[in-house]
Symmetry: C2
Subunit: 385 residues, 2 copies
């Protein structure tokens, strides 16, 4: 079967942006098309990954507006929502549109505009994805993270500092990402002494509220070279998505991210790959603890051993398996619908050797995008052709 | 290529429902699986067509919750939003999931819960899909309908009564639909003397605010008979989607629904069919005028001639080309995310000969689902295998 290629990618500056969602999406869309030298006229499917433009901006129908703004009419449009995993779900939708033969050129743009709201307002929109009973009892995502972190540290004899080292590592990586929201290093003491948010997790264990957008352009591999030379595209060799219980406390083991296990299994099977083949990965570090859980769930490390890899520098940029070379959600920021797309943007740039100061040696990369507290996960494997 | 089959279908009662969206979706989901004798365990992709659960209920992440409620974990889930065309977009997403080989069994459930809001509140949520400038000037969808109806009547010398006859016809059809919100006939005088909403359109030219849900179950045709006998499934022989300008007044001719022209062209081409092959159709009669526009855009009648077909009884249930045998959005109701799914439900039932008192003679059916004021349209052609 003809594989699905990614021939263009883009990412706007993440942070506090003085622009509405439509403008952010249009920026990423235009830059993505330019990256591939493609015309908006050629786009026949346009997907927008976005969780909550209605709640954040009182604006819906954004994909139609974007098709209009980009000059891509009469391209088919659709909004893809899978809460904070909307970006990864958008990749799956785009992949399916090409793999099914429905589309010859699909543009995916993910984005969110959030910083005009207070942190409390934004958190409340995000918390609307939790089970109503959990929500009523105040169990927001940060409090789940605190509870899970406590359990993980206890269960696997991990030191509190190992979590902080995720933040230190990712901030260090973000320093070299011109698009990152926070381009500053933090040291262990700064993380360990920052204000408590959900004990044992502190302020620096959490990603920020962010505005931003990112884009990817997909086509059948057989026509990729009509747009770009062979060394300027990547292929989606594997992709999978899965869900876990909506009520988090119903899970057998809160330290096992079941949907990441299932979705990565499917992605590996499609790619004919295993965890050992992966050279670089972007994991959804909305909270530091999530990087441990995913690094184990996708099979990079044994259960309960993810923290050791961080302690030993295995996941550093110069380590054996660099994780979150982009700076991760932690330092890069987390504009919900954009995040999964921006993860794939980073892997794509790394595979093409275009990651600048963040460049690592790699041929196969993996991105894991998480919705809710592992409620839904999409895992994507990208490779050089 | 293996075609995509629909092996199960369901539709809840439409109207004012004392149930939340999750419950409505679960009801349609369970009934759809039961219709095919399929187990939730076998579902690997679950799509939810829904425009605005966040705005209407303060609840997001509904597809994850539904996978949980139905016992379909760890099925991949995603919400499909294309405003009031979310149902048709869900059919396209489900089709792509099967046609791409990603899924062996995809459940699509569309639904919306709206009636707990006032009409003004609900209209405001829907109006958030319009262009911000049009919105600020008060150009809601009903006012677009009024403006367009006036133009149509003037341009094509159509009598005002022809619009009213759409309402009369569809209410008559809805009388025999046990799921319809309004099961009552209305006569021409009732429509013509009802309160003016957007001159020349009156109350009975508009669909109501509705709660409800509908489901469809998709698989590759090659395995359809593992679930049901050959005479109990249909195939999606053609499908297409397209957009038109987001700013309605930028269109060359407001009486031509460009996205319906484009999307039906694509659907006909895929099916190897033309308008003359269609025996029964469901068109998106959110406003009576839209039935005229779509009946012309999808090629059933020449431009400006759709009103004559209604006057002459061509689109009556016993006419040459019955349109909206279900009662249409006008009498059946319009729970946004459910409507496109429910259109296909009606065509599916008609093709299987299971439409009860509404049954017409047919082998090929078409459904046209419209978002905004023709901003985005998905057209689906279903056939007997």
């Amino acid at each position: 079967m003809d594989r699905v290629a990614i021939i263009g990618a883009s990412m706007t500056e993440f942070g506090e942006r003085d622009a509405w969602l439509r403008e952010l999406l249009a920026q990423a869309g235009r830059e993505c098309l330019a990256d591939a030298g493609a015309s908006p006229d050629d786009v026949d499917h346009l997907y927008v990954s976005n969780m909550a433009s209605g709640e954040f901006e009182g604006q819906t129908g954004v994909p139609n507006a974007l098709a209009h703004d980009l000059g891509a009419l009469p391209a088919y449009t659709q909004r893809v929502d899978q809460t904070s995993a909307s970006g990864g779900a958008g990749i799956y939708a785009a992949w399916q549109s090409v793999a099914s033969g429905a589309s010859d050129l699909t543009l995916l743009v993910g984005g969110e505009k959030m910083t005009h709201k207070t942190t409390a307002e934004a958190t409340d929109v995000i918390a609307s994805l939790t089970h109503p009973v959990e929500y009523k009892h105040g169990v927001t995502l940060p409090s789940f993270a605190g509870l899970t972190a406590r359990r993980y540290l206890h269960e696997y004899d991990a030191p509190r500092e190992s979590l902080a080292k995720v933040a230190v590592k990712n901030h260090k990586n973000g320093l070299d990402n011109p698009h990152a929201q926070f381009r500053k290093e933090v040291d262990l003491d700064t993380v360990m002494e920052s204000p408590i948010v959900a004990d044992p997790l502190r302020l620096y264990d959490f990603c920020p509220i962010t505005d931003g957008s990112a884009g990817l352009l997909f086509c059948p591999e057989s026509v990729a070279e009509e747009y770009v030379p062979e060394d300027e595209y990547t292929v989606v060799s594997g992709i999978g998505g899965a869900t876990d219980t909506h009520v988090v406390h119903e899970r057998d083991d809160p330290t096992v991210m079941g949907a990441a296990v299932e979705s990565s299994d499917d992605a590996y099977e499609m790619a004919g790959r295993g965890p050992d083949d992966v050279d670089v990965a972007e994991l959804h570090d909305m909270f530091t603890i999530l990087e441990f859980l995913q690094s184990e769930a996708v099979g990079f490390f044994e259960q309960g051993e993810g923290w050791k890899a961080v302690e030993e520098g295995v996941t550093d940029r110069d380590g054996e398996l660099p994780i979150n070379t982009s700076g991760g959600l932690k330092s890069k920021g987390h504009p919900l619908g954009a995040s999964g797309v921006a993860q794939a943007y980073e892997i794509h740039q790394q595979l093409l050797g275009e990651a600048g100061d963040r460049q690592v040696d790699c041929e196969v990369g993996l991105a894991c995008n998480v919705g809710g507290f592992g409620n839904c996960v999409t895992t994507t494997i990208l490779e050089e052709p």
